[in-house]
Protein backbone atom coordinates (compact mmCIF):
# COMPACT_ATOMS: atom_id res chain seq x y z
CA UNK A 1 0.00 0.00 0.00
CA UNK A 2 1.15 3.51 -0.79
CA UNK A 3 1.87 5.70 2.18
CA UNK A 4 -0.15 8.90 2.13
CA UNK A 5 1.58 11.29 4.51
CA UNK A 6 -0.84 14.20 3.99
CA UNK A 7 -3.96 12.11 4.56
CA UNK A 8 -2.39 10.51 7.61
CA UNK A 9 -1.42 13.91 9.03
CA UNK A 10 -4.95 15.23 8.49
CA UNK A 11 -6.42 12.19 10.21
CA UNK A 12 -4.15 12.68 13.19
CA UNK A 13 -5.04 16.38 13.28
CA UNK A 14 -8.72 15.46 13.21
CA UNK A 15 -8.36 13.11 16.14
CA UNK A 16 -6.37 15.70 18.06
CA UNK A 17 -8.97 18.42 17.47
CA UNK A 18 -11.80 16.11 18.52
CA UNK A 19 -10.22 14.24 21.39
CA UNK A 20 -7.86 16.68 23.13
CA UNK A 21 -10.62 18.97 24.49
CA UNK A 22 -12.35 15.90 25.87
CA UNK A 23 -9.08 14.88 27.47
CA UNK A 24 -8.80 18.26 29.17
CA UNK A 25 -12.33 18.01 30.57
CA UNK A 26 -11.98 14.41 31.74
CA UNK A 27 -8.53 15.10 33.19
CA UNK A 28 -9.76 18.22 34.94
CA UNK A 29 -12.59 16.28 36.54
CA UNK A 30 -10.16 14.05 38.43
CA UNK A 31 -8.21 16.91 39.99
CA UNK A 32 -7.62 17.06 43.69
CA UNK A 33 -7.41 20.86 43.55
CA UNK A 34 -10.34 23.22 43.73
CA UNK A 35 -10.04 25.00 40.37
CA UNK A 36 -10.58 23.68 36.87
CA UNK A 37 -7.07 23.29 35.50
CA UNK A 38 -5.04 21.11 33.20
CA UNK A 39 -2.90 19.24 34.02
CA UNK A 40 -4.89 18.29 37.14
CA UNK A 41 -3.32 18.78 40.56
CA UNK A 42 -3.21 15.31 42.08
CA UNK A 43 -5.99 12.75 41.72
CA UNK A 44 -9.35 12.50 43.43
CA UNK A 45 -12.92 11.57 42.63
CA UNK A 46 -14.47 13.97 45.12
CA UNK A 47 -15.82 16.29 42.39
CA UNK A 48 -17.84 13.40 41.03
CA UNK A 49 -19.36 12.99 44.47
CA UNK A 50 -20.24 16.68 44.51
CA UNK A 51 -21.66 16.57 40.98
CA UNK A 52 -23.91 13.65 41.84
CA UNK A 53 -24.96 15.26 45.10
CA UNK A 54 -25.78 18.59 43.40
CA UNK A 55 -29.53 18.81 43.53
CA UNK A 56 -29.97 21.31 40.72
CA UNK A 57 -27.94 19.05 38.42
CA UNK A 58 -29.89 15.91 39.21
CA UNK A 59 -33.17 17.79 38.85
CA UNK A 60 -32.03 19.24 35.52
CA UNK A 61 -30.89 15.81 34.37
CA UNK A 62 -34.34 14.38 35.06
CA UNK A 63 -35.90 17.30 33.20
CA UNK A 64 -33.55 16.88 30.24
CA UNK A 65 -34.13 13.13 30.00
CA UNK A 66 -37.89 13.56 30.23
CA UNK A 67 -37.87 16.28 27.61
CA UNK A 68 -35.57 14.34 25.26
CA UNK A 69 -37.55 11.10 25.54
CA UNK A 70 -40.98 12.67 25.10
CA UNK A 71 -39.98 15.05 22.31
CA UNK A 72 -38.19 12.25 20.44
CA UNK A 73 -41.24 10.02 20.77
CA UNK A 74 -43.52 12.80 19.55
CA UNK A 75 -41.23 13.67 16.64
CA UNK A 76 -41.18 10.01 15.57
CA UNK A 77 -44.92 9.64 16.00
CA UNK A 78 -45.44 12.52 13.57
CA UNK A 79 -42.33 12.16 11.44
CA UNK A 80 -42.55 8.46 10.52
CA UNK A 81 -46.08 8.70 9.04
CA UNK A 82 -45.02 11.90 7.28
CA UNK A 83 -42.00 10.14 5.80
CA UNK A 84 -44.26 7.30 4.66
CA UNK A 85 -46.71 9.70 3.07
CA UNK A 86 -43.91 11.62 1.34
CA UNK A 87 -42.28 8.51 -0.09
CA UNK A 88 -45.22 6.25 -0.80
CA UNK A 89 -48.24 8.45 -1.22
CA UNK A 90 -49.15 10.41 -4.29
CA UNK A 91 -49.77 13.74 -2.67
CA UNK A 92 -49.78 17.10 -4.41
CA UNK A 93 -47.18 19.60 -3.28
CA UNK A 94 -44.89 16.85 -2.07
CA UNK A 95 -41.66 18.83 -2.19
CA UNK A 96 -43.33 21.76 -0.49
CA UNK A 97 -44.47 19.52 2.34
CA UNK A 98 -41.05 17.93 2.64
CA UNK A 99 -39.50 21.39 2.74
CA UNK A 100 -41.85 22.35 5.55
CA UNK A 101 -40.77 19.41 7.66
CA UNK A 102 -37.09 20.02 6.98
CA UNK A 103 -37.29 23.79 7.57
CA UNK A 104 -36.41 23.65 11.30
CA UNK A 105 -32.89 22.82 10.15
CA UNK A 106 -32.45 26.30 8.64
CA UNK A 107 -34.70 28.46 10.79
CA UNK A 108 -32.64 29.88 13.65
CA UNK A 109 -33.61 28.20 16.90
CA UNK A 110 -33.77 31.56 18.60
CA UNK A 111 -36.58 32.54 16.23
CA UNK A 112 -38.53 29.36 17.03
CA UNK A 113 -37.80 29.86 20.69
CA UNK A 114 -38.91 33.48 20.70
CA UNK A 115 -42.11 32.65 18.85
CA UNK A 116 -42.96 29.88 21.31
CA UNK A 117 -42.08 32.14 24.24
CA UNK A 118 -44.37 34.88 22.99
CA UNK A 119 -47.28 32.72 21.97
CA UNK A 120 -47.29 29.78 24.34
CA UNK A 121 -45.77 31.06 27.54
CA UNK A 122 -46.83 34.71 27.52
CA UNK A 123 -49.90 34.52 25.30
CA UNK A 124 -51.44 31.22 26.40
CA UNK A 125 -49.76 31.12 29.81
CA UNK A 126 -48.47 27.60 29.26
CA UNK A 127 -45.68 26.01 31.29
CA UNK A 128 -42.12 26.13 30.18
CA UNK A 129 -42.14 22.32 29.87
CA UNK A 130 -44.91 22.42 27.29
CA UNK A 131 -43.22 25.20 25.33
CA UNK A 132 -39.93 23.29 25.39
CA UNK A 133 -41.69 20.08 24.36
CA UNK A 134 -43.24 21.78 21.33
CA UNK A 135 -39.95 23.47 20.48
CA UNK A 136 -37.87 20.33 20.70
CA UNK A 137 -40.41 18.25 18.80
CA UNK A 138 -40.30 20.77 15.95
CA UNK A 139 -36.52 20.79 16.13
CA UNK A 140 -36.31 16.98 15.82
CA UNK A 141 -38.82 16.72 12.99
CA UNK A 142 -36.24 16.93 10.17
CA UNK A 143 -34.31 14.00 11.65
CA UNK A 144 -37.41 11.87 12.01
CA UNK A 145 -38.59 12.62 8.46
CA UNK A 146 -35.22 12.50 6.71
CA UNK A 147 -33.57 9.53 8.36
CA UNK A 148 -36.70 7.38 8.28
CA UNK A 149 -37.26 8.45 4.69
CA UNK A 150 -33.76 7.37 3.74
CA UNK A 151 -34.32 3.86 5.09
CA UNK A 152 -37.73 3.78 3.46
CA UNK A 153 -36.19 4.57 0.10
CA UNK A 154 -34.10 1.42 0.51
CA UNK A 155 -37.12 -0.77 1.19
CA UNK A 156 -38.29 -1.91 -2.23
CA UNK A 157 -41.97 -1.14 -2.68
CA UNK A 158 -42.51 -4.44 -4.44
CA UNK A 159 -41.97 -6.10 -1.04
CA UNK A 160 -45.27 -4.71 0.15
CA UNK A 161 -46.88 -5.72 -3.14
CA UNK A 162 -45.49 -9.23 -2.73
CA UNK A 163 -47.04 -9.44 0.74
CA UNK A 164 -50.37 -8.22 -0.65
CA UNK A 165 -50.23 -10.83 -3.39
CA UNK A 166 -49.65 -13.55 -0.80
CA UNK A 167 -52.80 -12.52 1.05
CA UNK A 168 -51.87 -9.61 3.35
CA UNK A 169 -54.23 -6.74 3.92
CA UNK A 170 -52.53 -3.35 3.38
CA UNK A 171 -52.15 -2.92 7.15
CA UNK A 172 -50.78 -6.43 7.68
CA UNK A 173 -48.29 -5.94 4.84
CA UNK A 174 -47.14 -2.69 6.40
CA UNK A 175 -46.82 -4.22 9.86
CA UNK A 176 -45.02 -7.42 8.88
CA UNK A 177 -42.85 -6.20 6.03
CA UNK A 178 -42.38 -2.43 5.86
CA UNK A 179 -42.20 -1.69 9.57
CA UNK A 180 -39.46 -4.24 10.36
CA UNK A 181 -37.41 -2.85 7.48
CA UNK A 182 -37.97 0.64 8.80
CA UNK A 183 -36.76 -0.24 12.29
CA UNK A 184 -33.06 0.65 11.79
CA UNK A 185 -34.07 4.00 10.32
CA UNK A 186 -36.47 4.73 13.16
CA UNK A 187 -33.83 3.69 15.70
CA UNK A 188 -31.21 6.00 14.21
CA UNK A 189 -33.72 8.85 13.92
CA UNK A 190 -34.63 8.27 17.55
CA UNK A 191 -31.02 8.21 18.70
CA UNK A 192 -30.15 11.35 16.73
CA UNK A 193 -33.28 13.05 18.02
CA UNK A 194 -32.58 12.14 21.61
CA UNK A 195 -29.00 13.44 21.43
CA UNK A 196 -30.08 16.63 19.65
CA UNK A 197 -32.72 17.37 22.26
CA UNK A 198 -30.46 16.45 25.17
CA UNK A 199 -27.68 18.75 23.96
CA UNK A 200 -29.86 21.67 22.90
CA UNK A 201 -29.04 25.05 24.42
CA UNK A 202 -30.62 27.92 22.43
CA UNK A 203 -34.23 26.80 22.70
CA UNK A 204 -33.86 25.64 26.26
CA UNK A 205 -32.18 28.90 27.21
CA UNK A 206 -35.15 30.94 25.98
CA UNK A 207 -37.91 28.72 27.29
CA UNK A 208 -36.58 27.67 30.68
CA UNK A 209 -38.21 28.74 33.89
CA UNK A 210 -37.41 28.52 37.58
CA UNK A 211 -39.33 25.23 37.78
CA UNK A 212 -37.97 23.67 34.65
CA UNK A 213 -34.42 23.93 33.34
CA UNK A 214 -32.51 21.46 31.20
CA UNK A 215 -29.08 20.14 32.12
CA UNK A 216 -27.01 22.07 29.54
CA UNK A 217 -28.63 25.35 30.58
CA UNK A 218 -28.23 24.58 34.27
CA UNK A 219 -24.58 23.76 33.69
CA UNK A 220 -24.13 26.97 31.74
CA UNK A 221 -25.63 28.90 34.64
CA UNK A 222 -23.33 27.11 37.03
CA UNK A 223 -20.18 27.95 35.05
CA UNK A 224 -21.06 31.62 35.07
CA UNK A 225 -21.14 31.58 38.87
CA UNK A 226 -18.43 29.17 39.89
CA UNK A 227 -15.69 27.82 37.70
CA UNK A 228 -14.84 24.66 39.61
CA UNK A 229 -14.19 21.02 38.68
CA UNK A 230 -17.78 19.98 39.45
CA UNK A 231 -18.72 21.03 35.95
CA UNK A 232 -15.93 18.91 34.46
CA UNK A 233 -17.05 15.95 36.58
CA UNK A 234 -20.65 16.41 35.40
CA UNK A 235 -19.51 16.60 31.77
CA UNK A 236 -17.48 13.44 32.25
CA UNK A 237 -20.49 11.65 33.69
CA UNK A 238 -22.60 12.67 30.66
CA UNK A 239 -19.82 11.51 28.37
CA UNK A 240 -19.72 8.16 30.17
CA UNK A 241 -23.49 7.84 29.87
CA UNK A 242 -23.30 8.52 26.13
CA UNK A 243 -20.58 5.91 25.71
CA UNK A 244 -22.71 3.36 27.56
CA UNK A 245 -25.68 4.11 25.28
CA UNK A 246 -23.43 3.82 22.25
CA UNK A 247 -22.06 0.47 23.40
CA UNK A 248 -25.54 -0.87 24.06
CA UNK A 249 -26.69 0.35 20.65
CA UNK A 250 -23.70 -1.30 19.01
CA UNK A 251 -24.24 -4.57 20.87
CA UNK A 252 -27.98 -4.80 20.23
CA UNK A 253 -28.50 -3.39 16.74
CA UNK A 254 -25.06 -2.41 15.57
CA UNK A 255 -23.99 1.13 14.79
CA UNK A 256 -23.56 0.41 11.14
CA UNK A 257 -27.14 -0.77 11.02
CA UNK A 258 -28.48 2.17 13.01
CA UNK A 259 -26.72 4.70 10.86
CA UNK A 260 -27.07 2.58 7.77
CA UNK A 261 -30.23 4.53 7.14
CA UNK A 262 -28.28 7.69 6.46
CA UNK A 263 -25.70 6.47 4.00
Amino acid sequence: MKARPIAAALAVLGYVVMLVPILFVVGGAFTAGSTLKFPPEGFSVRWFGEAVANESFSQALTSSLLLAVVSTALALAVGVPVALALHRGHIPGRSLLEGLFLSPLVIPELVIGLALYQQLMIGLKQTSFLALLVGHTVLLMPYAVRVTGASLALADQSLEEAARGLGSSPWHAFRTVTLPLLRPGVMSAGLLGFITSFNNVPLSLLLQSRDFGTLPVTMLDYIQQSYDPVIAAMSTLILAGTVVIAVIAERTVGFTKIFGGIN
Partner: protein, 348 residues
Protein backbone atom coordinates in the same frame (compact mmCIF):
# COMPACT_ATOMS: atom_id res chain seq x y z
CA UNK B 1 -55.00 -19.71 -26.29
CA UNK B 2 -57.17 -17.39 -28.24
CA UNK B 3 -56.15 -13.79 -28.14
CA UNK B 4 -58.40 -11.84 -30.39
CA UNK B 5 -56.93 -8.93 -32.30
CA UNK B 6 -57.88 -5.60 -30.80
CA UNK B 7 -60.47 -5.01 -33.47
CA UNK B 8 -62.24 -8.34 -33.09
CA UNK B 9 -65.34 -8.70 -30.97
CA UNK B 10 -64.63 -9.64 -27.36
CA UNK B 11 -65.29 -13.21 -26.43
CA UNK B 12 -68.32 -13.20 -24.20
CA UNK B 13 -68.48 -16.89 -23.41
CA UNK B 14 -66.54 -17.75 -20.27
CA UNK B 15 -65.61 -21.30 -21.03
CA UNK B 16 -64.27 -23.59 -18.34
CA UNK B 17 -60.85 -23.66 -19.95
CA UNK B 18 -60.28 -19.95 -19.30
CA UNK B 19 -58.15 -19.32 -16.22
CA UNK B 20 -58.34 -15.59 -16.83
CA UNK B 21 -59.87 -13.25 -19.36
CA UNK B 22 -59.24 -9.66 -20.33
CA UNK B 23 -62.25 -8.04 -21.96
CA UNK B 24 -61.83 -4.65 -23.67
CA UNK B 25 -59.17 -3.59 -21.19
CA UNK B 26 -57.81 -0.07 -21.34
CA UNK B 27 -55.29 1.39 -18.94
CA UNK B 28 -54.14 4.98 -19.06
CA UNK B 29 -51.73 6.83 -16.79
CA UNK B 30 -52.34 10.52 -17.37
CA UNK B 31 -51.77 11.10 -21.08
CA UNK B 32 -50.04 7.76 -21.54
CA UNK B 33 -52.06 4.80 -22.77
CA UNK B 34 -50.35 1.69 -21.48
CA UNK B 35 -52.92 -0.85 -22.64
CA UNK B 36 -55.37 -0.07 -25.39
CA UNK B 37 -58.35 -2.35 -25.98
CA UNK B 38 -56.89 -5.66 -24.88
CA UNK B 39 -58.86 -8.87 -25.34
CA UNK B 40 -57.10 -11.96 -24.16
CA UNK B 41 -57.90 -15.37 -22.77
CA UNK B 42 -55.42 -17.23 -20.59
CA UNK B 43 -56.02 -20.94 -20.88
CA UNK B 44 -56.00 -23.30 -17.93
CA UNK B 45 -52.85 -25.32 -17.30
CA UNK B 46 -50.70 -23.64 -19.92
CA UNK B 47 -47.86 -21.14 -20.08
CA UNK B 48 -48.98 -17.95 -21.75
CA UNK B 49 -46.25 -15.45 -22.53
CA UNK B 50 -46.68 -11.72 -22.99
CA UNK B 51 -43.83 -10.69 -25.25
CA UNK B 52 -42.76 -7.29 -26.46
CA UNK B 53 -40.31 -4.43 -26.13
CA UNK B 54 -40.30 -2.26 -23.00
CA UNK B 55 -43.28 0.05 -22.84
CA UNK B 56 -45.51 -2.29 -24.84
CA UNK B 57 -47.91 -2.77 -21.93
CA UNK B 58 -47.00 -6.34 -21.01
CA UNK B 59 -46.03 -5.58 -17.42
CA UNK B 60 -49.09 -3.35 -16.95
CA UNK B 61 -51.23 -6.22 -18.20
CA UNK B 62 -49.67 -8.57 -15.66
CA UNK B 63 -50.07 -6.02 -12.85
CA UNK B 64 -53.73 -5.58 -13.72
CA UNK B 65 -54.18 -9.32 -13.54
CA UNK B 66 -52.44 -9.37 -10.14
CA UNK B 67 -54.55 -6.48 -8.88
CA UNK B 68 -51.74 -3.96 -8.32
CA UNK B 69 -53.32 -1.57 -10.77
CA UNK B 70 -56.96 -1.22 -11.77
CA UNK B 71 -57.83 -0.91 -15.45
CA UNK B 72 -59.32 2.40 -16.59
CA UNK B 73 -62.05 0.46 -18.33
CA UNK B 74 -62.92 -3.12 -19.22
CA UNK B 75 -63.36 -6.34 -17.30
CA UNK B 76 -60.91 -8.89 -15.94
CA UNK B 77 -62.26 -12.33 -15.07
CA UNK B 78 -60.35 -14.86 -13.04
CA UNK B 79 -61.78 -18.38 -13.17
CA UNK B 80 -64.98 -16.96 -14.60
CA UNK B 81 -65.54 -14.43 -11.80
CA UNK B 82 -65.30 -10.68 -12.28
CA UNK B 83 -62.09 -9.67 -10.54
CA UNK B 84 -61.58 -6.23 -12.11
CA UNK B 85 -61.62 -4.37 -8.81
CA UNK B 86 -60.62 -7.15 -6.43
CA UNK B 87 -57.61 -6.22 -4.24
CA UNK B 88 -54.51 -8.41 -4.74
CA UNK B 89 -54.93 -10.23 -1.42
CA UNK B 90 -58.32 -11.57 -2.51
CA UNK B 91 -57.13 -13.04 -5.82
CA UNK B 92 -54.99 -15.98 -4.71
CA UNK B 93 -52.40 -15.49 -7.42
CA UNK B 94 -48.71 -16.29 -7.06
CA UNK B 95 -46.46 -13.54 -8.36
CA UNK B 96 -42.72 -13.65 -8.94
CA UNK B 97 -41.30 -10.14 -9.21
CA UNK B 98 -38.42 -9.13 -11.41
CA UNK B 99 -36.52 -8.10 -8.27
CA UNK B 100 -37.82 -11.26 -6.50
CA UNK B 101 -39.04 -9.05 -3.60
CA UNK B 102 -38.00 -11.57 -0.96
CA UNK B 103 -38.55 -10.39 2.60
CA UNK B 104 -34.98 -9.70 3.77
CA UNK B 105 -35.80 -9.98 7.49
CA UNK B 106 -37.21 -13.49 7.20
CA UNK B 107 -35.61 -16.85 6.55
CA UNK B 108 -36.18 -18.71 3.31
CA UNK B 109 -38.69 -20.98 5.07
CA UNK B 110 -40.56 -17.99 6.54
CA UNK B 111 -40.69 -16.36 3.13
CA UNK B 112 -42.19 -19.46 1.61
CA UNK B 113 -44.53 -19.95 4.57
CA UNK B 114 -45.73 -16.33 4.62
CA UNK B 115 -48.80 -16.92 2.49
CA UNK B 116 -49.62 -20.18 4.28
CA UNK B 117 -49.57 -18.47 7.66
CA UNK B 118 -52.05 -15.92 6.34
CA UNK B 119 -54.27 -18.76 5.17
CA UNK B 120 -54.15 -20.19 8.71
CA UNK B 121 -52.61 -23.46 7.60
CA UNK B 122 -51.82 -25.38 10.82
CA UNK B 123 -48.15 -25.34 11.86
CA UNK B 124 -47.45 -28.99 11.09
CA UNK B 125 -48.98 -28.90 7.65
CA UNK B 126 -47.36 -25.56 6.97
CA UNK B 127 -43.93 -26.94 7.78
CA UNK B 128 -44.52 -29.87 5.47
CA UNK B 129 -45.77 -27.75 2.61
CA UNK B 130 -42.86 -25.33 2.92
CA UNK B 131 -40.42 -28.26 2.88
CA UNK B 132 -42.17 -29.88 -0.09
CA UNK B 133 -42.21 -26.64 -2.06
CA UNK B 134 -38.55 -25.97 -1.33
CA UNK B 135 -37.75 -29.51 -2.45
CA UNK B 136 -39.69 -28.90 -5.65
CA UNK B 137 -37.40 -25.99 -6.50
CA UNK B 138 -34.34 -27.86 -5.21
CA UNK B 139 -33.61 -25.66 -2.18
CA UNK B 140 -34.59 -27.90 0.72
CA UNK B 141 -31.18 -27.47 2.33
CA UNK B 142 -31.39 -23.67 2.51
CA UNK B 143 -34.62 -23.31 4.50
CA UNK B 144 -32.92 -21.60 7.46
CA UNK B 145 -30.92 -19.07 5.45
CA UNK B 146 -31.62 -15.38 4.96
CA UNK B 147 -32.31 -14.44 1.32
CA UNK B 148 -29.31 -12.08 1.27
CA UNK B 149 -26.95 -15.06 1.65
CA UNK B 150 -28.27 -16.75 -1.48
CA UNK B 151 -27.13 -16.41 -5.07
CA UNK B 152 -29.37 -14.73 -7.63
CA UNK B 153 -30.49 -18.07 -9.01
CA UNK B 154 -31.33 -19.39 -5.55
CA UNK B 155 -33.26 -16.22 -4.68
CA UNK B 156 -35.20 -16.68 -7.88
CA UNK B 157 -36.15 -20.21 -6.81
CA UNK B 158 -37.22 -18.99 -3.37
CA UNK B 159 -39.46 -16.38 -5.01
CA UNK B 160 -40.91 -19.13 -7.16
CA UNK B 161 -41.44 -21.41 -4.16
CA UNK B 162 -43.12 -18.62 -2.20
CA UNK B 163 -45.53 -18.00 -5.06
CA UNK B 164 -46.29 -21.69 -5.62
CA UNK B 165 -46.71 -22.59 -1.93
CA UNK B 166 -50.08 -20.85 -1.66
CA UNK B 167 -51.39 -23.09 -4.46
CA UNK B 168 -52.37 -20.10 -6.57
CA UNK B 169 -54.95 -20.26 -9.31
CA UNK B 170 -52.42 -18.53 -11.57
CA UNK B 171 -48.66 -18.15 -11.38
CA UNK B 172 -47.50 -14.75 -12.65
CA UNK B 173 -43.87 -14.27 -13.64
CA UNK B 174 -42.59 -10.75 -14.36
CA UNK B 175 -39.33 -11.03 -16.32
CA UNK B 176 -38.29 -13.75 -13.88
CA UNK B 177 -35.01 -14.61 -15.58
CA UNK B 178 -33.75 -11.18 -16.57
CA UNK B 179 -31.48 -10.81 -13.52
CA UNK B 180 -29.71 -14.14 -14.07
CA UNK B 181 -26.59 -14.75 -16.12
CA UNK B 182 -26.99 -16.29 -19.55
CA UNK B 183 -26.27 -19.91 -18.61
CA UNK B 184 -28.49 -19.93 -15.56
CA UNK B 185 -31.24 -18.28 -17.57
CA UNK B 186 -31.31 -21.16 -20.03
CA UNK B 187 -31.32 -23.68 -17.16
CA UNK B 188 -34.18 -21.92 -15.41
CA UNK B 189 -36.33 -21.98 -18.55
CA UNK B 190 -36.35 -25.75 -18.44
CA UNK B 191 -36.74 -25.67 -14.68
CA UNK B 192 -39.86 -23.50 -14.81
CA UNK B 193 -41.32 -25.73 -17.53
CA UNK B 194 -40.67 -28.77 -15.34
CA UNK B 195 -42.29 -27.16 -12.31
CA UNK B 196 -45.26 -26.09 -14.40
CA UNK B 197 -45.66 -29.63 -15.72
CA UNK B 198 -45.39 -31.13 -12.22
CA UNK B 199 -47.86 -28.74 -10.64
CA UNK B 200 -50.19 -28.26 -13.59
CA UNK B 201 -50.24 -24.53 -12.82
CA UNK B 202 -51.51 -21.93 -15.22
CA UNK B 203 -48.64 -19.54 -15.85
CA UNK B 204 -48.55 -16.04 -17.27
CA UNK B 205 -45.01 -14.98 -18.11
CA UNK B 206 -43.86 -11.51 -19.11
CA UNK B 207 -40.65 -11.24 -21.08
CA UNK B 208 -38.89 -9.18 -23.72
CA UNK B 209 -36.73 -12.13 -24.72
CA UNK B 210 -38.04 -13.88 -27.83
CA UNK B 211 -35.94 -17.02 -27.23
CA UNK B 212 -37.40 -17.34 -23.75
CA UNK B 213 -40.91 -16.91 -25.10
CA UNK B 214 -40.39 -19.41 -27.91
CA UNK B 215 -38.95 -22.04 -25.62
CA UNK B 216 -41.32 -21.67 -22.69
CA UNK B 217 -44.71 -20.77 -24.12
CA UNK B 218 -47.71 -22.82 -24.98
CA UNK B 219 -49.13 -19.58 -26.22
CA UNK B 220 -47.39 -16.32 -26.91
CA UNK B 221 -48.90 -12.87 -27.23
CA UNK B 222 -46.85 -10.24 -28.98
CA UNK B 223 -47.65 -6.73 -27.81
CA UNK B 224 -46.77 -3.28 -29.00
CA UNK B 225 -47.93 0.10 -27.71
CA UNK B 226 -50.64 -1.48 -25.57
CA UNK B 227 -52.08 -3.63 -28.33
CA UNK B 228 -51.86 -7.29 -29.29
CA UNK B 229 -49.97 -7.62 -32.56
CA UNK B 230 -50.24 -11.38 -32.92
CA UNK B 231 -50.86 -14.40 -30.78
CA UNK B 232 -50.74 -18.16 -31.04
CA UNK B 233 -48.45 -21.05 -30.25
CA UNK B 234 -44.74 -20.44 -30.93
CA UNK B 235 -44.92 -22.95 -33.80
CA UNK B 236 -47.78 -20.96 -35.32
CA UNK B 237 -46.35 -17.49 -34.81
CA UNK B 238 -42.66 -17.95 -35.50
CA UNK B 239 -42.84 -19.17 -39.11
CA UNK B 240 -45.80 -16.91 -39.95
CA UNK B 241 -45.37 -13.43 -38.48
CA UNK B 242 -48.44 -11.36 -39.27
CA UNK B 243 -46.77 -8.00 -39.68
CA UNK B 244 -43.45 -6.26 -39.88
CA UNK B 245 -43.27 -5.54 -36.13
CA UNK B 246 -43.69 -9.20 -35.19
CA UNK B 247 -41.29 -10.28 -37.91
CA UNK B 248 -38.60 -7.86 -36.76
CA UNK B 249 -39.11 -8.81 -33.14
CA UNK B 250 -38.67 -12.49 -33.99
CA UNK B 251 -35.44 -11.90 -35.90
CA UNK B 252 -36.55 -11.54 -39.49
CA UNK B 253 -34.12 -9.04 -40.94
CA UNK B 254 -34.79 -8.90 -44.68
CA UNK B 255 -37.76 -6.93 -45.95
CA UNK B 256 -38.38 -6.43 -49.64
CA UNK B 257 -41.34 -5.10 -51.57
CA UNK B 258 -42.46 -7.10 -54.56
CA UNK B 259 -45.47 -6.15 -56.65
CA UNK B 260 -46.85 -4.05 -53.84
CA UNK B 261 -46.48 -6.83 -51.28
CA UNK B 262 -44.10 -6.83 -48.33
CA UNK B 263 -42.04 -10.01 -48.11
CA UNK B 264 -39.63 -11.14 -45.41
CA UNK B 265 -37.03 -13.88 -45.08
CA UNK B 266 -34.88 -14.86 -42.11
CA UNK B 267 -31.10 -14.32 -42.64
CA UNK B 268 -30.43 -18.06 -42.38
CA UNK B 269 -32.93 -18.73 -45.16
CA UNK B 270 -31.27 -16.49 -47.70
CA UNK B 271 -28.88 -18.21 -50.05
CA UNK B 272 -26.24 -16.64 -52.20
CA UNK B 273 -25.74 -17.78 -55.71
CA UNK B 274 -22.98 -16.60 -58.01
CA UNK B 275 -24.73 -18.01 -61.06
CA UNK B 276 -28.12 -17.16 -62.49
CA UNK B 277 -31.30 -17.52 -60.39
CA UNK B 278 -32.21 -21.04 -59.29
CA UNK B 279 -35.29 -22.58 -60.81
CA UNK B 280 -38.36 -22.19 -58.61
CA UNK B 281 -36.93 -19.64 -56.22
CA UNK B 282 -39.45 -17.04 -55.12
CA UNK B 283 -36.89 -14.36 -54.58
CA UNK B 284 -34.04 -13.81 -56.93
CA UNK B 285 -32.48 -10.46 -56.27
CA UNK B 286 -29.31 -9.09 -57.78
CA UNK B 287 -27.27 -7.73 -54.93
CA UNK B 288 -23.87 -6.36 -53.98
CA UNK B 289 -21.90 -7.74 -51.01
CA UNK B 290 -20.94 -4.91 -48.65
CA UNK B 291 -19.49 -6.69 -45.64
CA UNK B 292 -18.67 -10.19 -44.39
CA UNK B 293 -18.59 -10.97 -40.66
CA UNK B 294 -17.34 -14.30 -39.35
CA UNK B 295 -19.35 -15.34 -36.28
CA UNK B 296 -18.23 -18.87 -35.48
CA UNK B 297 -21.32 -20.88 -36.27
CA UNK B 298 -22.14 -18.75 -39.29
CA UNK B 299 -20.99 -15.91 -41.47
CA UNK B 300 -23.14 -12.83 -41.82
CA UNK B 301 -23.08 -11.45 -45.32
CA UNK B 302 -24.38 -7.90 -45.59
CA UNK B 303 -25.67 -6.96 -49.02
CA UNK B 304 -27.64 -4.26 -50.75
CA UNK B 305 -30.16 -4.69 -53.49
CA UNK B 306 -32.18 -2.24 -55.53
CA UNK B 307 -35.62 -1.62 -54.04
CA UNK B 308 -38.71 -0.21 -55.67
CA UNK B 309 -37.61 3.31 -54.86
CA UNK B 310 -34.22 4.94 -55.25
CA UNK B 311 -32.98 3.82 -51.85
CA UNK B 312 -30.95 0.60 -51.85
CA UNK B 313 -32.41 -2.09 -49.57
CA UNK B 314 -30.04 -3.74 -47.08
CA UNK B 315 -30.08 -7.54 -46.76
CA UNK B 316 -28.43 -9.95 -44.35
CA UNK B 317 -27.70 -13.56 -45.23
CA UNK B 318 -26.39 -15.97 -42.61
CA UNK B 319 -24.36 -18.76 -44.19
CA UNK B 320 -23.13 -21.69 -42.15
CA UNK B 321 -19.44 -21.13 -41.56
CA UNK B 322 -18.47 -24.70 -42.38
CA UNK B 323 -20.48 -24.82 -45.57
CA UNK B 324 -18.62 -25.38 -48.75
CA UNK B 325 -20.06 -23.18 -51.43
CA UNK B 326 -19.94 -19.58 -52.42
CA UNK B 327 -17.40 -17.47 -50.59
CA UNK B 328 -18.63 -13.95 -51.19
CA UNK B 329 -16.29 -11.02 -50.75
CA UNK B 330 -17.17 -7.35 -50.35
CA UNK B 331 -17.86 -5.83 -53.76
CA UNK B 332 -19.00 -9.11 -55.37
CA UNK B 333 -22.09 -9.00 -57.56
CA UNK B 334 -24.27 -11.97 -56.57
CA UNK B 335 -27.84 -13.23 -56.71
CA UNK B 336 -29.74 -13.65 -53.47
CA UNK B 337 -32.31 -16.43 -53.51
CA UNK B 338 -34.76 -18.01 -51.09
CA UNK B 339 -37.00 -21.08 -51.30
CA UNK B 340 -40.66 -20.17 -51.80
CA UNK B 341 -41.72 -21.74 -48.47
CA UNK B 342 -39.18 -19.58 -46.66
CA UNK B 343 -40.65 -16.32 -47.89
CA UNK B 344 -43.33 -14.83 -45.64
CA UNK B 345 -45.80 -12.29 -46.89
CA UNK B 346 -46.64 -9.61 -44.32
CA UNK B 347 -49.83 -7.68 -43.82
CA UNK B 348 -47.96 -4.42 -43.33
Amino acid sequence: MTAASPTAAPSTASTTAAAAEFIDIRQTFGDFTAVDGLNLTVEQGKITTLLGPSGCGKTTTLRMLAGYTTPTSGTIRIAGEDATRLPPEKRNLGMVFQSYALFPHMTVADNVGFGLKLRRVPVEERRKRVADTLDLVGLGHLAGQRPKKLSGGQQQRVALARAIAIRPSLLLLDEPLSNLDARLRVQMRAEIRRIQAETGLTVVLVTHDQDEALEMSDAMVLMRAGRVMQSGSPAEVFPRPANRFVAEFLGYENFVERDGRLLTVRPEHLEISTGPATEGARLALPATVTRVAYRGVDRHIALTTQGTGDEPVPLIAALRADETGPDPRPGDQVTVVARPDRVVELAG
